[in-house]
Symmetry: C2
Subunit: 268 residues, 2 copies
């Protein structure tokens, strides 16, 4: 682990990342010593920093730190956290705050092999996401909603939990984005009120365009998801997972999902 470029795993308890969740993060995979889509992750990090008024560390600096970890951890999940830095007391950020950079490395998770092929059981979370347009889309450190939602299905066998907003619109998984395929077109929720817009979601949208597949980003009701031909989840760690079950509904045809997955994996 790296803390501001130095080997270590401790941060100051006055760091605004801890005090207020005042920071952003990325989760990416390294395979065979190659960081996957690092440039895309950096671009998202930068956008998220701009949205919060955090001075985003330079690409070159973060790339160097990342590169220094690769020899020891050639196949792993890398988490990068950038916080607004140390704070004097009070919510208002100092304009000259120096961001804190943290890198953490974990083993690649071992998911059941069947999940990528035969699909995953998805749980419908009772927790509804609150709407906050100022924070929507951003992968920030205020993640209590995800924590409470994940606690709902922990240990019940589900691979992921689906979260709706207060109006019952489909938004995302607790750690993934969600897509529907219906009648030869792709649908994914609008994330302008809540939710996190992940790098893998962007890659799926680009892959769909490449396949000439019409794709809509808009509000989606739960009924529309249940009526879809295929449903899949995506994130930067597991890639694409078809959904096999949600409540009483089950799916077993994953033609389009697998086609997209193959395209994305070959592009990696």
């Amino acid at each position: 682990m790296l803390v501001n470029g130095e080997s270590g795993n401790l941060i100051g308890m006055r760091d605004r990342g801890l005090l207020y969740g005042d920071g952003v993060f990325r989760t990416l995979c390294v395979r065979g010593g190659q960081p996957q889509h690092w440039l895309l992750h950096y671009q998202k990090l930068q956008q998220d920093c701009v949205a919060l008024g955090i001075a985003c560390p330079d690409f070159d600096l973060l790339s160097e730190e990342l590169a220094s970890l690769l020899p020891q951890h050639s196949d792993a999940v890398y988490k990068l956290i950038v916080t607004r830095g140390q704070a004097a007391r009070g919510y208002a950020p100092a304009p000259d705050a120096i961001p804190t950079r943290l890198w953490d490395v974990s083993p690649l998770p071992a998911y059941p092999a069947s999940w990528a092929e035969q699909g995953v059981p998805l749980y419908l979370c009772a927790l509804r996401l609150g709407e906050q347009p100022r924070l929507a889309g951003i992968k920030h450190l205020n993640r209590l909603e995800n924590v409470l939602a994940a606690a709902e299905f922990s240990g019940n066998g589900a691979a992921e939990g689906l979260m709706l907003d207060a109006q019952g619109r489909v938004i995302e998984g607790t750690r993934s984005n969600v897509f529907l395929a219906s009648a030869g077109r792709l649908l994914t929720p609008d994330l302008s009120r809540c939710g996190v817009a992940g790098v893998q979601r962007e890659r799926v949208l680009a892959a769909a365009a490449e396949l000439g597949l019409p794709c809509e980003v808009r509000d989606i009701a739960l009924d529309e998801l249940l009526a879809a031909d295929e449903v899949f989840l995506c994130n930067s760690v597991f890639g694409l997972w078809p959904v096999a079950r949600l409540g009483g509904r089950s799916w077993s045809e994953f033609t389009l999902t697998h086609k997209l997955r193959d395209l994305l994996e070959n592009a990696a």
Copy 2:
């Protein structure tokens, strides 16, 4: 500063308080070596821990830690943070997580002497609070809304910022609760959708009851606040501040506010 009872100011970067804002906090004053309303703060801490499923540290343990700091810091602001503790990767909390206990001490802030007597300038924040009934009322570590709101009026002379919800209802200050006095009765916003229910708010409600002052906790529109006879803010550090100005509206009579303040200070 104390970290799990030991002198220190560093925490592990895998603490869920940092990763997800998965924790709660209290801010209290110590004056003349006496912690102010520590029992009330502990009770709130406990309620907030229960709401998030965090195992709240014992009263005796925290009281001992607090007592150990008093000789060195007899007049100061104490901040207590309790996080869910260290994490394996992933949002789902481990049922056996051991909470992290952090104490931080800062000097009592030096506010302009006029503020408590002649009232404070209040700023109307553009940021609207999102609704999340599962987190409403809790003093948790997901405070990005407060950060963004505080950034709006930082350096413009305002003492505090007023936050509304998406529907334009009055909710709270960025670090305080808000009350209105109109026609001999007290009003304060319902905090069941968003906002933090502070200890000082509870004390004001109790003091009002003691004075035989009718008090309503309900939705309040901004117009109703602007039409109020008196408006005041409260928190555990500054006590009670009358509001002197908000936008074009100004107030100069603070009879009820000062009466409540005197009652609260004598009860301290």
